[in-house]
């Protein structure tokens, strides 16, 4: 089988899965703690290069339909692309899962600067206090995401 066909189909289906999980499982929350389940997908870039494009595409689709449309498409998608690309390149030589998850979590922080910039432009909120709040939320979501991806990786081969 052509590798290109397998890559295209797998990337597209994972992007669709990102959108489906974002929309269908959105109501699942823990009281005041809203778990952004779809953030766990950012960890996938530590397993296979293909997920960089898959997750970025998923975010693009979700953002096309967000109420802030074109601006979310630019900032949100670029933030995810930066986060997942950094994750892939920084975890290529790391073999332990704990190491991969920790690096993936840290790698999302530069991308959050774009989300912070978007909020600054929209709401005139101060860049740095807002960034730390956003970063804390992202780290919490990524830690929970790491736990979920770990459990999934025990049953599903995420490298393939």
């Amino acid at each position: 089988m052509h590798k290109i066909n397998r890559n295209i189909s797998a990337t597209a289906i994972i992007a669709a899965l990102y959108v489906a999980i974002t929309l269908a499982l959105a109501p699942i929350s823990f009281g005041v703690v809203q778990l952004r389940l779809s953030e766990m997908f950012n960890h996938l870039a530590a397993f296979n290069k293909r997920y960089i494009f898959a997750v970025t595409l998923g975010v693009l689709i979700v953002n096309v339909f967000s109420p802030l449309g074109p601006i979310d498409m630019l900032f949100g998608t670029a933030g995810t692309l930066i986060g997942t690309t950094l994750t892939y390149f920084c975890t290529r030589k790391v073999t332990s899962l704990v190491g991969k998850f920790t690096i993936a979590t840290i790698c999302q922080l530069p991308g959050m600067l774009l989300v912070d910039l978007e909020m600054h432009l929209y709401s005139n909120l101060p860049m740095f206090p807002t960034y730390w709040i956003l970063a804390a939320g992202e780290i919490a979501s990524m830690v929970i995401g790491a736990f979920l991806i770990y459990l999934i990786s025990t049953k599903v081969d995420l490298y393939k």
Partner: protein, 266 residues
Amino acid sequence: MNKILFGRYVPGTSFVHRMDPRAKLILSLIYIVAVFMANSWSAYVVSFIIALTIIASSGIAPKFFWDGVKPLIGVILLTVVIQVFFGVGGHVYWHWGILSITSDGLLNAVYIAIRFVLIILVSTVLTLSTSPLEISGAIESLFMPLKKIHFPVYEMALMLSIALRFVPTLIDETEKILNAQRSRGANFSSGSIMARLKKLVSILIPLFESAFNRAEELATAMESRGYQGGEGRSKYRVLNYTKNDIIGTIFMMASVALIMVLRNWS
């Protein structure tokens, strides 16, 4: 459940509906940038009139626009409250510790709330008047110049179309798995955080497995139909700029020019 994503598109034959999706996407971005540049009451009034004109020419009922604004009311109010109590400059009406209400803070709060609403309204026109496939086609076309730096534009467009096609299927599948687990007694809204996460895994593992199986089947189907990459493939839906796009562009350029004049004038 599919309505969440795809129910937003309202089919129609209005002026805006008949515009090229690329023109709609670019003109929406230009409008958003112009709204960010507005800095006076007169500029915001003009921006508001432009938004109302666009909405009127889309022929879409106002309740759909209310649905667009509704989810962000909390964010808008929070932003307004922050601006009102933390804004500085101008006449001080009230002061207590780090909190203060000033004339500049109040003005900023109102400007930001108007800006939010205007951007949401125009973004909503875009998604209500353009089908997901049209948006996907527009993104492909706008990315075309990146081919020169070997960006896989055709592949990206195909992936976007496949992903859009499979979103409803995977949402249905997620619901089926959720219901299957519930019928076995799973309760996703009780227990400790750890217990709930473990229950979630019982949904996620079958979902991932099924997604990978679908990807494998799809790759086989592409292979059997002789897919060899996108270069040279013809398209069923061909995008063409029409008279409506020229009129829309002239209207938007004139509007943006007016906003810029009012910005520099005030």
